[in-house]
Amino acid sequence: MSGNHQTLALVLFSVFIAVTLGITTWVSRNRHGSAEEFYAGGRLFSPMENGFAIAGDYMSAASFLGISGLIALFGYDGLLYSVGFLVAWLVVLLLIAELVRNCGRFTLADVVAARMSERPVRIAAGASSVIVSIFYLVAQMVGAGSLVALLLGRSGAAAQVWTVIGVGALMVIYVSLGGMRATTWIQIVKAVLLLGGTVALTVLVLVRFHGDFDRLLLTAAERSGHGIDFLAPGLKYGADWTSRFDFISLGLALVLGTAGLPHILSRFYTVPTARAARRSVVWSIGLIGSFYLMTIVLGFGAAAIVGPDAVRQSNAAGNTAVPLLALDLGGGADSMGGTVLFAVVAAVAFATILAVVAGITLASSASVAHDLYASLRRKHAKQRSEVGVARVAAVGIGIVAIALGILARELNVAFLVGLAFAVAASANLPVLLYSLFWRNFTTRGAVWAVYGGLIPALLLVVLSPVVSGSPESLIPGVDFQLFPLQNPGIISIPMGFLAGWFGTVTSSEEPDEARHAETEVRSLTGAGAV
């Protein structure tokens, strides 16, 4: 890549950072330091604002870079990701958003602890939320790394590390200074930028093919070297039964995981009522759906215009397909248009990573301070303010994410997000659904549901080909691979549900009818909601 791209992209990115830092200082100018304000932005956002913010939180680098990259490399099999990512929002809309808004205060554990004995439930749900967040953060960090590698050329390993550190430092500043209010505004700005950039690229792709979608598909199939098979499922996941089960597993994780993501759950608390939460989810379904429809065009466009070989050469996992497409659409590597478009895409992708990372960091620091610290703190230890603890937790989580992000930088980001979804679907969704809908659910059931999903999911990932046993794995030298699938969802999600059921039916604890009544009345009417 030539120096022009670098400079322009860095300038645009610096502008974004300046604007978002401006927002952060502006919204925190008269801060009260209350937990309400720090975690939920004072609960005063409108449904449209929150809908954009949810979309901003959700349309991560994994969607923008990862999915179109997978479509460019594997054709139709990449598209299956975007279907799963979108359909998942129906689970959120129908079963989760309104009820969680009515029942909880800041975190997933609030909803569960409403019916159960507080301490064990908070520790379990808090721990699983932090683990899910870290998986998700690592995916974003890897996305940042591969973008920098593209921008600075293959030799920039040190620069890559420094950028990941820079992204981490910035997110800590946003979160600890601005809390939820600043984070939400950053998401909104980023969602608008990302949608604008995607619309522009999609229009350019369609113009290149004179609006003929058929022609686009056929050209993509032809350039891919797979012929018409490129447009049908099976290229990536059809080789044998292992990979087929792997795909079904991934499909389940995608559709059930969204509802268990801590940073998505925390977004429902930023609006005043359950009705506003519902309307913000409807907004986000519209925005996210149109965005994924456009990534399909971008993915096939990258295959048709750039060609899978060039994509693979730049990044084996396909993460750089869209920036390369932008370069070509603008008129090629040495043209003014190409330079500008490439720089815009790179800057938007950076902005995306930064914003999503800030959102997840905020949610996980809430889990650490509001659930874990509060439950584990020794009785007579010196008292600190919860918000202060959350700010410190944001720093700690940032450091962990930076370290793991550097370690995992060769994996496809969409795939890494798939893992985070599997863990979220196994550990967080069962306990959430049971506490909202099951009359006889008990404390033991809740704790078992969390650990019964979390531990199998983590164990299966460790024993899977992701970590060891093949040249592409995280630790290529050793082989302790026992579980053939890359995604644990198909085993661990049912285990989470089963463990919750089994823990409940074997516990001697009488289910508390009154507290179930309170949960049910609150969840459906909003009585007593904060």
Binding site: V83, L90, D214, F247, I248, L524
Partner: protein, 183 residues
Amino acid sequence: MQLSNDRARSGGGGPERAREHREVRPPVPEEPAGVRHDDPWFGALAPDWPGTEPPGAPAPAVPAPRQEPARDAMAEVYLAVQRSAAFQEVRSRYRRFVVPAGIGFFLWYVAYVVAATTAPGFMARPVVGAVNVALVAGLGQFLTTFVLAWAYARHARLRRDRAALDLRWDTQELTRGVKGGTS
């Protein structure tokens, strides 16, 4: 206020329910201390935390500093509301929409994923030009998601919101009464 009118119309159990609550309330002060004191919403953690209480929030919205003997009376309020016809109606309207819709889209999605992995030959069958069954099914998933989201929002707005708001109002009135009676 037309709220109570609407409630009577939608639930039919409004007036009876209100009377029932008033019968529940008097025993509150005589409630024996030390029955069950764990507050499900704010629990033991709340007092330790400076800053957990939103400053200046209105009383009904923040049940945190609830008096302990009120605990059972509060439980009675929620149990009574849960048993009321108006609440049962709201709940069954919600479930009558969500259960079939949820099962429907989940099966359609699983069928799509399983078909994509086990029947690639069928999915590769061309429909129009380069567009094959797989692509139509994928776009169909997008379409059904949009339609279902719209239908749910409409159903909730027209059939549930008003009744839920009335119930919220009544419940908060009752819980405030309980708190006021003991503190």
